[in-house]
Symmetry: C2
Subunit: 189 residues, 2 copies
């Protein structure tokens, strides 16, 4: 356990605060990320927060850093495990099936929205979003090329693929299961 804080039950570290911050963001966007409510949620007072962070903006930066890494992770590691046994089509299929059914994924979807709305007024967040979008679409394009498409076709299809994934976080449609089946057919068939 090479943690920043060595031990203790009530001992919090930066990661715990960031985690709670994303919980709050999933419910109410970046404006819901407030020091006092977070402290109550964690069972401590603001004194703890201002020990780990200079101010609220420092927490924002820590959130961005975490999201930047975690969002890349979501694309790479989560799909890549199982390694070479999977074909590109299987990996794309995995991507289509994982979001956003479970409660955990619903949280991820809300965070996606929150970060992107935040990025409309914060340049640092916008930069992170641009980066993640590039990383993801490049990955999708790569998979589609391995699946047999030429570079140009793969680029177009990657956008559609990504858009469809994001739409599940954004749209309020009725039959999500049916939609997912449709997508699989339209984008991979």
């Amino acid at each position: 356990m090479s943690e920043t804080s060595p031990s203790g039950a009530t001992n919090l570290d930066v990661a715990a605060w960031v985690e709670a911050a994303f919980d709050a963001m999933a419910e109410g966007g970046i404006d819901a990320v407030r020091v006092d409510p977070l402290a109550k949620r964690l069972g401590v007072t603001r004194g703890s927060f201002y020990w780990h962070f200079a101010d609220r903006d420092a927490l924002y930066l820590a959130m961005l850093k975490h999201w930047r890494e975690g969002a890349s992770y979501l694309v790479y590691a989560r799909v890549e495990r199982g390694a070479d046994s999977k074909s590109p089509a299987e990996r794309l299929d995995t991507l289509l099936s994982l979001p956003y059914s479970s409660p955990r994924s619903a949280r991820a979807a809300a965070i996606e929205l929150g970060v992107r709305l935040w990025a409309r007024r914060d340049k640092r967040a916008a930069k992170a979003v641009r980066h993640i979008d590039r990383v993801r679409m490049d990955y999708f394009q790569k998979l589609l090329m391995q699946h047999g498409l030429d570079k140009d076709q793969a680029r177009k299809r990657a956008f559609l693929f990504y858009a469809a994934l994001m739409a599940e976080a954004l749209l309020f449609v009725d039959n999500r299961d049916q939609t997912r089946v449709d997508l699989r057919e339209a984008l991979l068939g």
Copy 2:
């Protein structure tokens, strides 16, 4: 001028407050819709607000009503003008080209995000979003069927079409113009 308020320069009506509320929402989400900042933006005090609205929640409801109507309007009237001279393909093409290039459309995109993030915690907003999503997708499906697709294919394509439109409001991609050309080819070609 059949306004609610007959005349006067500083005289505001409900519509003016709702308009300002959406401006605020486009910048900071539903949490940025606050009475005091709105009043300052409009050059009045809160006294005016609490004359037109019972409380802040009443403004929220007025916003939802306005969005519900305006969002349907965006689909119907905006594309349908020019009437019968346009083919279904031309109308779909119009839809693909209008969002979200102009500053006005950027505002609309931000509002879309704001409403949908809000809908994750407010049931009334969620209901409005569900309704609008149904209306829009039904319209897209209808156009695609008139374009020659059978009902089932049109439904699937309508989702992709809608998802691609929404992705422009959500994603931070580099070449929006290129993307739009690609979409036209992929979805209508």
